[in-house]
Structure formats: structure tokens, C-alpha cells
Amino acid sequence: MTATPHRPHDGVFDVAVIGGGIVGAAIARELSGHDVSVALLEARDDVGDGTSKANTAILHTGFDAKPGTLESRLVARGYHLLSAYAEETGIPVEHTGAVLVAWNDEELAALPALKEKAEANGYAHCRIVGADEVYGVLPHLGEGALGGLTVPDESIICTWTTNLALATDAQRRGTTVLLRHAVTGVDTGDGVGADTADGYGGGGDGVTTLHTSAGDVRARWVVNAAGLGADHLDRLFGHDRFTVTPRRGELFVFDKLTRPLVDKIVLPVPTSRGKGVLISPTIYGNVMLGPTAEDLTDRTDTGTSEDGFDFLLTKGERLMPRLLAEEVTASYAGLRAAIDHPDYLIEADPAQRYLLVGGIRSTGLTAGIAIAEHVRTLLEEAGLKLRPRGDVPEPPRMPNIGEAAPRPYEDAELIARDPAYGTVVCFCERVTEGEIRDACHAPLPARTPEGLRRRTRAMNGRCQGFYCGAAVAALSARHHPDDGCGSRPAPCGRPAQHKDNR
């Protein structure tokens, strides 16, 4: 890593953002567009390795949010901000549109109210359609659909690239990205959590010390975007205002050969009996079925379950029997950070120079950049001085791992310039040697097989490594990232201060 003008000389960051998911990365990016030093702390060995990696990857219009809420406002704004950002950075997006399909009278009767709700959320393009039109756009849907509501602007997006683009952008703007920095304790400047309690400025300097698994990190302001761990962290700051319940969502990804079956997002109609599951094309050319919704207590339980599979298969059989006749390429479980609060919970505590971003459900993918704007405003109101920089670097141009635009293996000119893009290593996903090399040498390099999957799609395909697993492993070992963060399994043991002085 090179030194940047935004690395503090005294080892104290102006702002520490905790959590390298989409929300945390977006906040770090936003803040580092100003004249402050920012650290982004991530507990795991990669950004975007928690809740942000396993959602349904839908770019939401916000048509079904609760009108008048912060979530409604931020999702609607986030839709436009992220769409524009995706264009700039090359985050794959496909504007597929969605159809909510009604399968019974109750669901059919719910459609007009949903349309009105969409309008109350500022989205005016929904249309109620009959069964014929539903089958016109979704000919392979199971029998018995009674009608639907179209949402032409619901889109699919690459959640992995979104997270990486935001974090890479933040880093280019000067944010110090600290991986494997799990926050285990907090000493705030005002004494909370510390062994002194002499009011504002505890140590006399107004600086909060974050004790982490990789040494202390000190900052004047702290933003909590810790997702599943946000309530625990909030308690370290002396608050007790919410509890995160990990809500497991399991989903199936079907073989690419199913993609012609589904060209729109097929959404369930929410009713008194709860939300159903959706079927959606994926940005990688597959079809996804899910998610389940199951409240857990274990915040690390990202395993899939027999009950979850049975539930999905039963639902899928009704929704699209043709789909279930095809091969399953992958199954995932993600944990959403559900909280006991009906809206996003974003609150600043000026006395502690601390801000909480809690309760960001799956809409956070869409809303992330808008949340970051909102957070910036709240921080300024709370007293953080932010002066926009005149020298903000261009956002990064991300490698395309979506199917809507040509990939490197199809690009004759690129292959002619660099034959590494002509050697396909992962056959099912058509990932080339050049892309794997690039991912290992990226500003935020792939350090694990999972990190490589999220950057390139390598090994994500139907063979799951039957052909390519060994070759991909060998190739990434050859290009192992040497960024001072060490190799697995040795942890990155360097305290932040040492990194600062490098």
C-alpha cells in the first residue's frame, strides 16, 4: 500500500467506519471524498464477506417499502444513485423488471393496495395485469396464476462487485482498509467503556480507542455499520436500543441452461400469511429460487438445512415446475440483520462522536450510497467538520463478471493484447487466467478461494471445481497477493499504527 495524504500522522483517524459490507464501504467512500482521514475496519479477511455477499441481489425501486419511512426515502434515492454509479464503474446491472404474481384471491385483492403503496413511495410505473399478460412474459410459470403487478424498473445487480467497487473507491480516495480487525472493545473519549469517567474527552483528547483482534485503532469519530454485529458493538458504546436477530435466507441457484425460462424477477405478493419466495434471473446468467426466512440465534450459522431445501422445492414446484427439472448449481444461506424496529435505525450521538447504522435489511444493497449521504449529513450536524476535496480520484472501473456485457473470453482485441485472457481456466463460468491474475493483484486482492469467487466467478459454476478447482487453486497460489496482510491462515498481526508508518 502506498501512503496517502489522508493517512493521519498521529495515528488517529478522523473517522473509523466499522463494517466492510456495502453500507460501511459506501460510508467510507462518501466520507473520504472530504478532507478527513478514514479507516474502514472489517472483522473478516475480505470486504463484503458477511450479509452483503448472500442477498437476492435486486436493485429495488422501493415500490413496496413502508411509505414515509427513512427506508422508503433512501431506497428510492439509492436506486438512482447506484444505477448511475454502476454505469460509471461497470457494476453489472440488468434491467429485467419484475412481476408480482397473485396465486389466490387474497393475493389478487392485495394488488391495488400495492400499486397505491408504490405511488406513495414515489414509484408510478406499476401496472395491474391479467393472467394472460403474466403468462405472456413468463410462459414457464406454473399453472394457476390469477394476475399480477408489474414493476418495470426492478433490476438485478452484482452485489459482490457493488461492494468491491465501493470499497476500492474508498481506498483510492484515501480510506485505510483494515481487514481482520474485529472490534473487541471500545474506550470512548467520554469515558464510556473506559476505566476513567471524567466526562467529555476522557483521555482529554476526544479520541475513541477501538480494541481489535489486530491491535488498537484510534479515531475521533466512529460509525457503526457492523451489520449482524451492530447491536453488540452498540452496547460497547453503552447503548441498549435494539437487538439483531439473524434471519437465515436459503436459496438455490439453478444451472445457466435455465436462464431462458425466466426473463423477469418473479416476486411473491406479501399477504397476511407472510412473504413467499421469489424466482429471479441472476446477473451471472443463472436462475435463483429463494429465500427462506428463518430466525436464528447463532450469528454464524450460514449453513443450509433440509427444511429450507424442502420448503424451497415445494414452493418452486408450484411456481415453476420446469425449473426444478434442471440441475442445481449452488445453494447458499445468507443471514439478514433483522432488528426489532420497523425502519432503518440511523442515529448520531454527538457527545460520543458515534453514529449507528442499524437495521439495514436486504434493501441496503440499493440504499447503500443514499445511506452514506444521510450519514454524512448527520455527522456534520453532530459536529464533524467535512470540507469536500477538490482532488477526488475517478471511481474505479471494475472487471465485468456479468453476462449482459461481453466478458474477457469473448473480447478478441483484449486476447490479442494479452493472451492470458484467452486461456479459460474455469470452464463453466468462462473465467480466464488473466482475470484470476488481476483479482489477485487488485487494490483489494482476493486472498481466499471465496474472495476469488466473488471477484471472478471462478468455481461458481455447475461443476463446482470438478474440472477447474485444482487449476484455479494453483493459479491463485502463484499470484498470491503480497499486500502486507499475510497469507492464510496466519492472521494479519500488524497493529494499525505500524501499517500507517509503512
Partner: protein, 416 residues
């Protein structure tokens, strides 16, 4: 974008495994002209490249050698016959019905051949496709990935493994694990007896010392980071228990690598999931042929190779403009058979490769009485002296079809 360069060989063979390489050697040796083999791996040879045990070459070469030696032999023979083998060369799709799109380090180009042979083989279904829930730890492989790791990349695997499946390939996985210093602690099979060859099973029990849990399935993979255990269930009693292991190998349960065939719009057989073919190995598209385990997932490498030799004759006839297939009758596999290959019998065509029809059974029969029926009439019935066993191809002589009427209805092949 400008139009990619086009090359126009006489024959394009997609896949450089035993079937593709044998077809290439035969075609090049018999004057088919420019025979181009596109293989997407670093080296041609297919699965035998990393099956580092003996038993290869028996039926096609009349000698026995190890997988890697067999792969090298097939490459050398095809090369000496004049075939143009291009590795790291992947057919990614079709520009039109007879033009393949190719990516290679030499560039992106199109190939329009006068005849095409699909020889893309088969792969094992990974854990996800078998819908086995649980955690997603490291240490979970297919045999293909395991053997690639051990034999081609010399990487370590774990110390204690559970092998899922009891097919021929499952024993191959056991051998590889042993060589890599990993103990095969248990083999799990849903069938009442371990599949594959009786003799090999015996060898497995006594020589390899691998305990086999029959009528058992894996219900969960357990472990964060590294695999720690699997949960298994006895199908009859429903009893479940955990088996500690740091490695799980999902073996067998093959599916043809049929993506290119499907994306070309070629008709697939619902049983094999490979292209529907006649005994001359024509697919539904004129000029496109298929051979090897793409058609019968999976028989041994030598049988796949002999498909390659078989298909060459019909490809040559096609190149000569002399291939005019007559209408044929469909062959249908009745339960307990899951599929039959090939699936179309035409009066003017040669007998299938090796004079055998290949079938897959879901039930064990020690002395199978095979029955051929057409239009309500029993055409033939014969008790064979070799067993029909799940987990391996069951071969029957095509002479059983001698009494089939070429103008009649579908021909049903069953037991009893």
C-alpha cells in the same frame, strides 16, 4: 467488433479425451483431411490424465496401462496420425448451426467444419447438485477435483475421508486418497450393495479396507472453515449418526457435459441427458456426431475410445457425401433401466460400437433376463450370464435386436 477469423477444417472434434482422440487418430489416419481437436485443458487426454492407477486400454489397445500413460499414448497416436490437437482451446458457443466460437490464447476465432464430433464427456454431480445441505467447509470434492489436486497439482488433501457413492470411480477415489495419505474412513452408498465390479468391491473391502455403509445417504455436511463431519442416515431405519472426517468426496452420479449440445439446439435423450443418437452416432443435426461418455454417463475409458473409432466411419461417409440415414425406430429403456444408448436403430446402419447396447439399471439382477418388445410382440428374450448392477453400465449384445421391424413402433428394452 470485427468478425473473428474463420478456420475451416474438415472435421472439428470438441473434447480431447479417449473418445475424441481416438476419433481423431482414426479420421486423420484414414484421410479425412484437416482434423482439428479442440481441448480446453492444458493437456489433452481427458479424465485418464489424473486417474493415476492401472486398468486403462484393455478393450481398445489390448494392453493395460495407467491413466496418465494411456492419455499420453492417445495424444501421441492422434498426433502421429496427423490430427491437429489444440489445447487451452475452448469452444464457448455457436455462431450458427455449423460454426463454433472458440477462445484460446492464440485468439478468439470461429471454426466451421464439414463435420463435427461432440466428445465433451461427463462430470460428476457436485455436492450442490445433489442438494446435500449443511455448512460449506473446505475439503469437499468430487473425484475429478480430488485427482486433479493430487496427481496434477500434487496438493495435500485431508487425513480422514468419507466417500459418497459406490461406483467404479468411488474406488478410484479411495486409491487416490490412500496415495495422498488420507484414510478413506467410510464409503456411503444408497444401494443395498456397493456398486461396480464385484471383484473390485471385494478388493476394496479386503485390500483397501474401506468399510461400506449401504442403504445410507449423507444428510448434512458439518464444519466451519474445514470439514469436521458428515451426518448420514440409514434409508430403512431413518437412524442418523455423525461420521468425523475432514474430507468428503462426492463420487459418480455422472451427468454428461451437454451444454454445447444443448446450446446448439441438438435433441437430448431424456434418460442419458446426452445427445439422442443412432447406432452410427449421428445426432439430430446433420453433420454433427457424438461419441464417448457424453452419450452414456459413464462407461470405462476404453469403451469411450471405441466409440471414437466407431464414429469415424460414419464421419468419413458424411465427408464423402455418402451418408443418407434411413428412417429408424426408437429404443426405449423400461424400468428398472434408466436409459439406453444409442436410442435409434436404422435398418441401413452399422451395429453399435462393439456390437453392444449400453443401459443403466436402478436394480440389481444377478442373472438378468432381457426382453425386447415391439408393438406388443416379444422380439427377443435372453438371460445373460453377467449381472445388471446399479452404478455401472450394463451392456447387452445388439444381436438381440435382430428381429426388430424397421417400420414398426418403438422398441422397449426391459427385464423379465
Amino acid at each position: 467488433m470485427t468478425q473473428p477469423p474463420l478456420i475451416t477444417p474438415d472435421v472439428l472434434i470438441i473434447g480431447g479425451g479417449p473418445a475424441g482422440l481416438t476419433a481423431a487418430a482414426e479420421l486423420a489416419g484414414r484421410g479425412a483431411g484437416h482434423v482439428l481437436v479442440a481441448d480446453r485443458e492444458q493437456d489433452a487426454g481427458g479424465i485418464p490424465r489424473h486417474s493415476d492407477h492401472t486398468g486403462y486400454g484393455l478393450r481398445d489397445l489390448r494392453r493395460v496401462m495407467t491413466g496418465p500413460a494411456y492419455a499420453r499414448h492417445l495424444v501421441r497416436r492422434a498426433t502421429e496420425a496427423g490430427a491437429d490437437i489444440r489445447t487451452r482451446t475452448m469452444v464457448t458457443g455457436w455462431a450458427d448451426e455449423h460454426t463454433a466460437e472458440v477462445t484460446s490464447p492464440e485468439g478468439r476465432y470461429h471454426v466451421r467444419a464439414r463435420a463435427t464430433v461432440l466428445a465433451t464427456g461427463a462430470r460428476e454431480r457436485p455436492r450442490t447438485a445433489r442438494r446435500v445441505p449443511g455448512d460449506r467447509p473446505h475439503g469437499v470434492y468430487t473425484t475429478g477435483q480430488l485427482q486433479n489436486l493430487v496427481h496434477l497439482h500434487h496438493q495435500p488433501v485431508g487425513k480422514r475421508a468419507v466417500i459418497v457413492g459406490g461406483e467404479l470411480v468411488s474406488w478410484s477415489a479411495a486409491v487416490t486418497l490412500r496415495e495422498a495419505g488420507c484414510t478413506p474412513a467410510l464409503m456411503v452408498s444408497q444401494y443395498p450393495k456397493a456398486e461396480s465390479y464385484g471383484a473390485f468391491t471385494l478388493a476394496g473391502r479386503t485390500v483397501l479396507g474401506v468399510p461400506v455403509a449401504t442403504r445410507t445417504r449423507v444428510t448434512r455436511v458439518i464444519g466451519k472453515g474445514r470439514c469436521q463431519a458428515v451426518e448420514i442416515e440409514h434409508l430403512d431405519t431413518g437412524l442418523r449418526r455423525r461420521v468425523a472426517c475432514d474430507t468428503v468426496v462426492f463420487t459418480g452420479d455422472w451427468i454428461p457435459d451437454h451444454e454445447l449440445a444443448r446450446s446448439a439446439g441438438i435433441t437430448l435423450d431424456e434418460g442419458t441427458l446426452g445427445p439422442l443418437t443412432d447406432t452410427a452416432l449421428r445426432t439430430s443435426r446433420p453433420g454433427v456426431f457424438a461419441a464417448g461418455n457424453l452419450l452414456h454417463p459413464v462407461d470405462t475409458a476404453d469403451v469411450a475410445a471405441l466409440d471414437g473409432r466407431h464414429v469415424a466411419g460414419r464421419v468419413l461417409a458424411h465427408l464423402d457425401g455418402a451418408d443418407r440415414p434411413a428412417p429408424g425406430v426408437r429404443l426405449i429403456a423400461d424400468a428398472p433401466f434408466r436409459w439406453v444408448a444409442p436410442q435409434i436403430l436404422r435398418p441401413s446402419d452399422p451395429a453399435p460400437a462393439r456390437g453392444r447396447l449400453l443401459l443403466w439399471t436402478d436394480e440389481f439382477a444377478r442373472f438378468p433376463k432381457v426382453t425386447i418388445r415391439q408393438d406388443g410382440r416379444t422380439v427377443a428374450r435372453r438371460t445373460l450370464s453377467w449381472p445388471a448392477a446399479p452404478g455401472r453400465v450394463f451392456r447387452i449384445p445388439s444381436t438381440l435386436l435382430a428381429g426388430v421391424s424397421p417400420t414398426g413402433g418403438p422398441v422397449h428394452i426391459g427385464l423379465g
